[in-house]
């Protein structure tokens, strides 16, 4: 007993010693900060101190998010090719008018900046199919993974792994599969079929852009929906069973309404993410063939940075248009989240 307590006290004293050593830099720091903070507190009052503590983060956020937002807005009202705002001539809404100058909005080839409109139409096509199929696949996958199936843990992990990959890695993996001499074509030729030049055909390119993006992201949405499904008390299903409810009716009348708040969040998040699509498709197809898979963000990037004539003003104006769309979607997302919390 005596031996034990000695060992314990040794251990304690070791811990204490470690704490003492670890604590001294903190003590010096607190000592240094104590006087100025007391002075600040005297100056502003204790109830305003939370804002003082928020200030560093707000400054950082302001410098790297809010200020660039305004700079971008300012750029959108200027013309020319100079980089510095001071050197750029003020053109007012000229860039926006240029973007909006169309013979018919339904036909991009009648627009002065047809690449912008093709980007918009491509993005709309992408968003509609990608979001619809991704939500559907995520829901079906979550419903299956929520059941007591063999190897459930493995499948849950397998569906989530692509989310952990960088978009460039995702694109390179699929490029390796889909290129002219890729794995898929090797498979096709080995069973006597013709090669398909996926990235030469506009429809195939759009299909694979949507497919790869669904593959890369659906694990994340599946996870949200799975959490939503698991939050539905099993008692409700048993009560429905006792009530003589058929399986389809249980899905439509119990599962779906109770999952709806989660589903709404998933739909809006997927929408936001889909509108922003750029990196993986850019690496996969380069926007081609032609402009078949060139989306709005790629248009902004190439207009502003990679074209020979770097048209910052036009790119900034397109960014503002995209920003407004994303802002509206974000408001929807917040409303959906609030609704989920209310439920």
């Amino acid at each position: 007993m005596a031996h034990n307590s000695t060992a314990q006290s040794d251990e304690m004293s070791l811990g204490d010693r470690f704490n003492a050593v670890a604590a001294w830099p903190m003590r010096i720091l607190f000592g240094l900060l104590d006087r100025p903070f007391r002075a600040i507190q005297r100056l502003f009052g204790i109830e305003r101190m939370p804002y003082i503590f928020l200030l560093p983060n707000l400054a950082f956020f302001g410098l790297f998010v809010v200020v660039p937002l305004f700079i971008n807005f300012a750029f959108s009202a200027t013309g020319g090719t100079n980089l510095f705002l001071a050197d750029r001539p003020f053109v007012g809404t000229e860039q926006y008018r240029y973007l909006a100058d169309c013979g018919s909005y339904l036909d991009p080839s009648t627009c002065r900046e047809d690449r912008f409109w093709r980007g918009i139409y491509n993005t709309i096509t992408f968003v509609v199919f990608q979001v619809a199929f991704m939500v559907l696949f995520s829901l079906v996958t979550a419903l299956i993974l929520n059941r007591k199936i063999r190897g459930r843990g493995f499948f849950r992990a397998a569906f989530f792994f692509p989310v952990l990959l960088s978009p460039v890695v995702v694109a390179l993996i699929w490029k390796w599969i889909l290129l002219r001499d890729g794995v898929l074509n090797a498979g096709l030729t080995s069973i006597g079929l013709d090669r398909i030049l996926f990235f030469v055909d506009p429809t195939w390119s759009m299909f694979w852009a949507i497919f790869v993006s669904i593959w890369a992201h659906m694990g994340f949405y599946t996870l949200i929906l799975l959490a939503g499904l698991q939050a539905i008390p099993p008692d409700l299903y048993e009560a429905a069973e006792m009530d003589g409810t058929k399986r389809e009716r249980i899905f439509w009348r119990i599962t779906l309404p109770l999952l709806w708040p989660n589903l709404l969040v998933v739909i809006v998040l997927a929408l936001i993410k889909a509108v922003q699509i750029f990196d993986e498709v850019f690496v996969l197809t380069g926007g081609g063939p032609g402009t078949a898979t060139q989306f709005i963000v790629q248009y902004i990037y190439t207009t502003g940075f990679s074209n020979q004539v770097q048209n910052f003003g036009l790119a900034a104006a397109a960014s503002v248009v995209l920003g407004v769309v994303l802002f509206a979607l974000t408001l929807m997302q917040l409303a959906a989240s609030r609704r989920r919390e209310d439920n």
């Binding site: 008692d235 009560a239 006792m242 009530d243 058929k246 309404p257």
Partner: protein
């Protein structure tokens, strides 16, 4: 009216047996309560009857038909869950109507049934509300209403009052008893609360570790427990159970426990040297003069409740005894009291815990 029969029901989860061969006949129109400690298998048994769990072996019969392979939805039973299991996104009306709509009942009939049940349970004013806008007691009524509207063959209740506060539990208990009297249907009720079992049941089934310990009317279990488990489980506070050795005395036996010797008449089934357990309920122990006493005990705690007093006292060499006395007794901690056990209400169990005799006097 529905009769439910269980024949040699066994249930195992993997290697673990939870129900070990239960035979039971739930008579038509009876209020039967399954009672037992946590993990005794009472809820599992109820879920087996409901069809929410399958059996490993044995047969479940409803009105003479084996229903082992019938899903819950086709057994015609209604269940009230501990958590109420109300659909949170539906109004009270929709909750109650949902099961009827499943069976494609005409809308007028659904409306009539829901309104009648709501009136009976006094929840008409809440029909348009969602469950989250109701109190626990109101939710419980809705859950019961959902069962009533279906006019089931039998009602199954899985600890329906355990989420309510003590006062509401007493009220709901009375209402459930009244409901049974009014509807007259077969009801099976699971609880771990023996007071609920005693007050509601026509028949109590005491379960322990997946086996039936005893089946009987509440007072039958109280007066004639068949083993120490039932003796200890039924009655509140629980029966005092004391291990003793049988010794021969003039004209009979005496039970030696610690420094005390409790004399009993000649009883068939005991012999000198036997190890037995004698039981006496707190209300069957009197405080007497030293000359008439069986036991002398020192008071550890005195609970004065006004109309009655509970004394917790320890005799020399014996476990603590609980003594219940009517009225207010000026007895304090540390005081010695002299106790006499009412022989007519004394129970004697063998070393296995099975009853030898309930009531030892001639």
């Amino acid at each position: 009216m529905t009769e439910i029969v269980l024949k040699n029901i066994r249930k195992a989860y993997g290697e673990v047996d939870v129900i070990h061969g239960i035979d039971l006949n739930v008579e038509s129109g009876k209020f039967v309560v399954f009672v037992g400690p946590s993990g005794c298998g009472k809820s599992t048994l109820l879920r087996i009857i409901a069809g929410l769990e399958g059996v490993t072996s044995g047969e479940v019969l409803i009105d003479g038909h084996i229903v082992n392979d019938e899903p819950a939805s086709e057994r015609g039973l209604a269940m009230v869950f501990q958590s109420y299991a109300l659909y949170p996104h539906m109004s009270v009306y929709k909750n109650m109507a949902f099961g009827l709509e499943n069976s494609k009942m005409p809308r007028e009939e659904v409306e009539k049934r829901v309104n009648d049940a709501a009136a009976m349970l006094q929840i008409t004013q809440y029909l348009k509300r969602r469950p989250k806008a109701l109190s626990g007691g109101q939710r419980q009524r809705v859950a019961i209403g959902r069962a009533i509207v279906r006019d089931p063959k039998a009602f199954l209740f899985d600890e329906p009052l355990s989420n309510l506060d003590a006062e509401l539990r007493v009220t709901m208990r009375k209402e459930l008893a009244a409901l049974h009297a009014k509807l007259g249907g077969t009801m099976i009720y699971v609880t771990h609360d023996q007071v609920e079992a005693m007050t509601l049941a026509n028949t109590i089934v005491v379960l322990n570790a997946g086996r039936i310990e005893q089946v009987g009317a509440p007072l039958d279990l109280y007066n004639n427990p068949q083993n120490t488990f039932v003796a200890g489980f039924i009655g509140s506070p629980r029966m005092n159970l004391v291990e003793a050795t049988v010794e021969r005395s003039d004209g009979g036996f005496q039970l030696a426990a610690g420094d005390s010797h409790v004399s009993v008449p000649n009883i068939e089934g005991i012999r000198e040297g036997h190890h037995v357990t004698f039981g006496s309920r707190p209300e069957h122990i009197e405080i007497v003069d030293e000359a008439d006493a069986d036991i002398v005990a020192s008071v550890d705690l005195s609970e004065q409740l006004g109309g009655e007093t509970y004394l917790y006292c320890t005799p020399e060499g014996m476990p603590q005894l609980t003594v219940h006395q009517l009225g207010q007794l000026p007895i304090e901690r540390g005081q010695n009291i002299h106790l006499r056990l009412n022989r007519a209400c004394m129970h004697l169990f063998d070393s296995e815990g099975n009853v030898i005799v309930n009531g030892v006097s001639d």
